[in-house]
């Protein structure tokens, strides 16, 4: 209050320069964004400092305390090898949070290049690549992924490369559309008249203009990447046991649900659910702010 009274001129100037409220301020006003970021931050901390936070060694087996129900000693209980479920959930954040962003980054870079080329050159190149893209898209992502993983063998690197590859055509399709819209602008016609090389036009002139599309595509795909990584781990194509991993741990223990050992699968499942929902709250808030 006193600030405004003291310097009314300054406020007016400041407002003229700053223009409307900056987007990140609008984001901070959204409860969804704050909750989402909070949960994401929690999992990122677990991924980085998992070993320090976890109450037990996630790999340590206590065969005398196997399949123990949640108690004060083991808040989330223990698994069939007597390992602490809470510690495995905390440590399990690491691989999924490492693999998903890397895979998405590969897909975004390759997809953007492919989309630029298809959208800009059009014609035969576009038609041929378009057919291949559609053929890949004709299969569920998970099936394409495991076709490749079966061929090369499961590992974190395979998972990153395969998901990146599968995302490439999807991202290419979106970027291609944006490039075609952009292709009708005058600045491109003048660039061509000036005799600039296609490579320069593509990366120095068109790319900066389609960048917002690329950024949104990255955030949306990240959600799908987590979905895919978790699913492939569950199917046995991801991180291999005994490394703690949410999908892998569920796959290892869901057979024991019938025996009533629900804690061994419920807690990793809730971890995945909380991660994807948090990411969604954040993506949704960003999209709302951009479109507003």
């Amino acid at each position: 209050m006193t600030q405004i009274a003291a310097a009314p001129g300054e406020v007016a100037i400041g407002h003229a320069i700053a223009g409307p409220t900056p987007p990140w301020r609008l984001l901070l006003r959204r409860p969804g964004f704050l909750i989402g970021t909070g949960v994401l931050a929690f999992w990122v901390i677990c991924a980085i400092f998992g070993g320090l936070i976890a109450p037990y060694d996630p790999l340590a087996q206590h065969l005398l305390a196997k399949n123990a129900a949640p108690s004060s000693a083991h808040l989330f209980g223990t698994d069939p090898l007597g390992r602490d479920v809470l510690s495995r959930v905390i440590a399990g954040a690491r691989d999924i949070l490492l693999i998903s962003p890397l895979a998405t980054a590969i897909g975004t870079v390759l997809g953007t290049v492919l989309g630029l080329v298809m959208g800009y050159f059009g014609g035969l190149v576009d038609t041929m690549l378009g057919r291949i893209v559609e053929a890949v898209l004709a299969l569920p992502v998970v099936i394409v992924a495991f076709l490749f993983i079966v061929a090369v063998g499961p590992s974190s690197i395979t998972l990153i490369v395969v998901i990146g590859f599968v995302f490439t055509p999807l991202i290419a399709r979106t970027v291609r559309t944006a490039v075609i819209v952009e292709g009708q602008q005058d600045y491109l016609a003048s660039a061509r008249l000036l005799g600039e090389r296609p490579g320069y036009i593509l990366f120095a002139e068109i790319l900066p203009n389609v960048l917002p599309v690329v950024v949104v595509e990255f955030t949306v795909r990240l959600g799908y990447a987590i979905f895919a990584v978790a699913t492939l781990s569950f199917l046995g194509f991801g991180v291999q046991q005994p490394t703690p991993d949410w999908g892998g741990d569920i796959a290892a223990n869901y057979g024991l649900l019938g025996a009533g050992y629900w804690w061994e699968t419920l807690f990793p499942a809730l971890a995945i659910a909380s991660l994807v929902m948090a990411l969604n709250l954040v993506t949704d808030a960003i999209e709302q702010v951009i479109s507003a």
């Binding site: 969804g32 057919r131 291949i132 559609e134 053929a135 890949v136 898209l137 004709a138 299969l139 569920p140 992502v141 998970v142 099936i143 495991f146 076709l147 490749f148 079966v150 061929a151 090369v152 063998g153 959600g223 799908y224 987590i226 979905f227 978790a230 699913t231 569950f234 199917l235 046995g236 999908g247 569920i250 869901y254 649900l257 019938g258 009533g260 629900w262 699968t265 419920l266 499942a269 809730l270 995945i272 659910a273 994807v276 929902m277 990411l279 969604n280 709250l281 949704d284």
Partner: protein, 317 residues
Amino acid sequence: MARYLLRRLGLAVITLWILSMIVFFAGQVLPGDPGRAVLGPFASASAVRAYDHQIGVDRPLVVQYLAWIGGMLHGSMGTSYAYRSPVGPFILAAIGNSAKLAILALVIIIPLGIAGGVLAALYYGRAADRSISLLGLAASTVPEFVSGIVVIILFGIALKVLPITAATPPGSSFLTQLDHLILPVIPLVLVLFGYIARMARAGTIEALDSDYARTATLKGLRKGVVIRRHVLRNALLPTITVIATQTGYLIGGLVVVETLFNYQGIGRLILTAANGKDFPMLEAGVLTIGVVYMVATLIADVLYTLLNPRLRSEAAG
């Protein structure tokens, strides 16, 4: 119209052909050979070579591809490495089981998704709209096996009201089978609800905003009649297309749900084949899924054109 259909069909065939090559050559990059995979690590090198020769994997790739695709066209899908018998009957039985699950899922999702989307559109921008949209989005990003685990624990273990496996003894009655399929269907419904609701919502909002909806309101029709007769008819058109394209996601979901609930469908068949390096089974299964998806999109396109008078005349011209 006939020309449009032919063109559409031609494109589908070309896509399918490219898909068949991708599927086939992806199966060929494998390290180690099928003979070794089938006969095990202790078989002699000559036995492995003989087996490889017998099933024909020692021929050049192009020859193998032509033989494979030729067989497919004649209705012979190859011989399983693991079962040493034709792949066809396994695929057929599995597709039948998966179809039961998929149809049950669609029967639930389509009305539910459309109702949710239309409701959200009618309350556009208000709390009901925001919560339906956000819940739909959240549900569609939670992997099927995660929601599957939650419903198993909730309904199968805590409340003990539903069986936790989908497999039923052979010859079970329709109702028993249905009872076993309720839990597996829930994760599929959750994942697809968001997509269909979103499309129905967008379509309804557009139709509500249109000139014809305004005219209908202005000529004094009651709101319910305007929505039923004018808005919904136009709004549901794009939704039909999206339902068909979601078949792909549905099949992806089947792999997971069938594994989690121990159900003998096409998804589980492919997964088992993948783990056992049973390539003929894997390739035939994946190609079958591609065909199912292609046919679904084709039907959707045709349906969309038939239902939309504007496109119909464009396609004819």
